[in-house]
Amino acid sequence: MSISVHNIGKRFGAFTALDNISLDFPQGELVALLGPSGCGKTTLLRVIAGLERPDEGKVLFDGEDASRRDVRQRQVGFVFQHYALFRHMTVFENVAFGLRVKKRHERPSNAEIERKVHELLNLVQLDWLADRYPSQLSGGQRQRIALARALAVEPKVLLLDEPFGALDAKVRKELRRWLRRLHDELHITSIFVTHDQEEALEVADRVVVMNKGHIEQIGTPNEVYSKPATQFVYGFLGSANIFHGRIQEDGLAIGDHTLPLDAHTLESEVDGDAVAYARPHDLEIIRHDPANPDQEEGGIPSKVQRILAIGTLIRVELENPANPLVPIEAELTRGQFDELKLEEGESVIVRTKNVRIFPKIDYLANRVSV
């Protein structure tokens, strides 16, 4: 089933949770709603499920207006952040619940219910836990049971609210992969809410980045990461170095230095005060070489402050001439690092391979004022 929402607005008192949101969720896709807490992503999910009534706007299921449809008629499967398993029922009864509460003429026979529940428990690979109570399960197991329970009523849409939020890192990673495989098997339209960018980028077909009740960007994981549409997306997805400066003819003036910008970037509408974003892996560190002064052009002279070896990546923190409090971060592969043989305290030159320029305004100012 495809879902679309049109001009959805929702306020809680003076707080605007959703501000005129319009979105399409095509049939069979796995979409992530990504954003910081309080951005409205969970509210949007609950509006789609029918657990929350929007102040304005429409929810369409397969093109039909479902705004007035009760939760019970929407045929959605909802997985709650804290699982919301029925604590006084066994795992089996939890999964069977949706079938047992059906009206008498729709209700399957007991044998049929039993067959179906075991089939679902096998699907989530937890059939051996059928007689346990939720309190006897680990977080990851509870989450999978919650999923099996949601699937029991054969929903047309699966909605997951921070499905892995309460789990530890390792279980989370396993479950992520497992969810993706499950989705590929079942091909049910799914929407999941997360604040974890890695999760969204790894699992989803498409990512919707939200902030303060509106949508910042919609795109494939690769698009939102490599071509962030707004400063917010740039800052939220992955880490970024931020340079404040002023646009000049040849580049961005940062203090005494000029960050060279290519003609294309300069042609964009940004003018005057601007902010440049550069990913740590888009920075290049070179040494001063008297024989080859050309390559230093456009570089920012700096000093190595700290070197942190994190797995296969080496993170180098460099002195920031514009702001001594926030160091410039560069990421090198181990190979690059071994070649350079950097040492802490050494003077180097930092060059940027890829920067994005945004007008200097709103984002931070807004954040303070709201």
Partner: protein, 307 residues
């Protein structure tokens, strides 16, 4: 079966408490004489003010032997007092059960205007003296009260009759069930109800299959307390009953009358019945507490069971 469960629970509880109770570090331990002084005075206090009176009731009741004791209990006025007490509780407790559950449900699971006012109103019987509660009903339904003339004209008796006693008891026991359930239901939140709704359950199914099982022990606890108070209430009932022997006397009122007539052994015999009821109530209450403690115990996440 039930016995073994209780045993298991007790041992778990004592295990849990052991570190706190026994293993106090030397920094928090007082010198021996201070310990003994504190424990001794606490014990003396408890004995004097709680244990001795309880024993005294039974000793006085049986002072003249078992014969007069049972005679006092099967005497017609006593029997009618017992009956009236049971009837009153049988009406007041179920009514307050229904009210308490619906009030707690509304307060814990929904947001609405006037919620704080409702909570305060539910607490009112706790803060008003029972005698005043009785007087309120006399003022409303009594011969000179607001509805007095109307009731007289239609020959409806409320004050100095059973309905008045039931009304006063309901008023006094009003908060017990609701007060017990509100914090419990608030702590449980409404996620499970929402989950049930998404899965297609209707309101009745949600309440019956999800909400009620979750509040079961808290509800039983509230009912036990409510029942104890309903049977033991004196002040409010005293004002509205009129002390008509064999008609409008409940057990506590019967005790008072006997005592005022210097019929001590009968008074204490009847009182021992109430004391016995209190002991049974406490026993039930402890069992319920064990049960719910066990549930809370089981609720603790057990992450390491996996695989």
């Amino acid at each position: 079966m039930a016995g073994s469960t209780t045993m298991a629970t007790t041992s778990t509880l004592s295990l849990h408490q052991a570190p706190g109770a026994k293993g106090g570090s030397s920094a928090t331990t007082e010198p021996a004489f201070v310990c003994w002084l504190l424990i001794g005075s606490a014990l003396a206090f408890l004995t004097l003010f709680l244990f001795v009176p309880l024993v005294a009731v039974f000793v006085e009741a049986l002072r003249k032997g078992f014969g007069p004791f049972f005679a006092a209990l099967v005497e017609p006025d006593a029997v009618s007092a017992i009956k009236l007490t049971l009837i009153t509780a049988a009406i007041a407790v179920p009514l307050n059960l229904v009210f308490g559950v619906s009030a707690a449900w509304a307060i814990a699971k929904f947001q609405f205007r006037g919620k704080q006012f409702l909570i305060t109103l539910i607490d009112l019987p706790f803060s008003v003296s029972p005698v005043i509660a009785g007087l309120i009903y006399v003022l409303i339904f009594g011969a000179n009260g607001w509805f007095g003339t109307y009731l007289q004209d239609n020959d409806i008796k409320i004050i100095f009759a059973v309905p008045g006693i039931v009304l006063a008891t309901i008023f006094v026991t009003f908060p017990f069930v609701a007060r017990e359930l509100i914090p419990l239901m608030e702590a449980q939140g409404s996620e499970e109800e929402e989950a049930a709704r998404v899965l297609g359950a209707n309101g009745f199914q949600i309440f019956w299959k999800v909400t009620l099982p979750n509040i079961k022990w808290g509800l039983i606890y509230g009912v036990i307390l409510c029942n104890a108070r309903a049977m033991g209430e004196f002040g409010a009932v005293s004002v509205v009953s009129g002390h008509i022997r064999g008609l409008t006397n409940t057990l506590p009122l019967h005790v008072e009358i006997l005592y005022n007539e210097y019929n001590f052994s009968a008074a204490f015999a009847t009182a021992s019945l109430l004391a016995l009821l209190a002991l049974v109530t406490l026993g039930l209450k402890s069992i319920v507490e064990w049960r719910s403690a066990k549930l809370i115990d089981a609720d603790a996440p057990t992450e390491n069971i996996q695989k």
